[in-house]
Amino acid sequence: MGFPDRIERTIEIAHPPAKVWAALTTAEGLASWFGNQASIDLRPGGSAQLKWTEGHTADMRVERVEEPTVFGFTWHIYGLPEDDPRRTYVEFTLEQVGAATRLTVVESGFAQLSDDVHGKAHDGNTGGWASELAELVDYLDAA
């Protein structure tokens, strides 16, 4: 099946890295292509937030700031409970190619496993409840 852990995209942008960097790492830049509103405290450990007019919000934590080549942040995995500690890591890498920029974005960590996935409930129940359920089937068949 192949559980996707990592997503990667590379695009060529006909502008120098400094300009791309500003679009990725300033509130003004982020709000003009990514979200509709943005705030960012550009330092490792700093907070950033994107807001969309539809009402959706994304809270990010800045992880890497190496102007103008690497910008990394983590954010929540969509679909998991708000208090789930798992986050994916997003890293933008900017590489100058002539007057242009090769921009790569890698998002990784989708396949992290939480400790409780195969907790007691699974290990303990599989055997015991199989027999209970067999009895249940008998009971229902007789009903």
């Binding site: 099946m1 192949g2 559980f3 996707p4 852990d5 997503i7 995209r9 695009i11 942008i13 006909a14 502008h15 120098p16 400094a18 300009k19 791309v20 679009a23 990725l24 830049g29 003009s32 292509w33 990514f34 995995i77 969509y78 679909g79 998991l80 409970p81 789930d84 798992r86 994916t88 921009l103 974005v105 998002e107 989708f110 396949a111 992290q112 496993l113 939480s114 409780d116 996935v117 195969h118 907790g119 409930a121 699974h122 129940n125 599989t126 409840w129 199989a130 209970e132 359920l133 067999a134 009895e135 249940l136 089937v137 009971y139 229902l140 068949d141 009903a143």
Partner: protein, 122 residues
Amino acid sequence: MPPDIEAIAEQVFAALADPSRRAILAVLATGGPVTATEIAARLPITRQAIAKHLALLADAGLVTAEPGERRRVRYRLRSAPMQVAAQFLAALARDWDGPLDALKDHLDKVPDKPASRRPGPS
């Protein structure tokens, strides 16, 4: 043996591929723990079929049976495997192509501002 995230996701998607099991899981998700009899009252599925599906779902670790007298055993959804499936879907649903296209369009509209950078080596 370490848990196999791919095997867990496969069990969730296999369970969801069957409309009866989907309906049973939806009942458990929306209404909380219920007995097999209560599920039978809500769905157009025979009690025998419900018992069979519950056994399969319990074996896969997707539902657990709460301890209790046999007829009153209540089944509860286990959220952990569902969250694994949600992670899989999150990866498929992540759209970087759209935002990256928007980034390109944005940069084409913004004038270059070389003056904002300090001249010469720092």
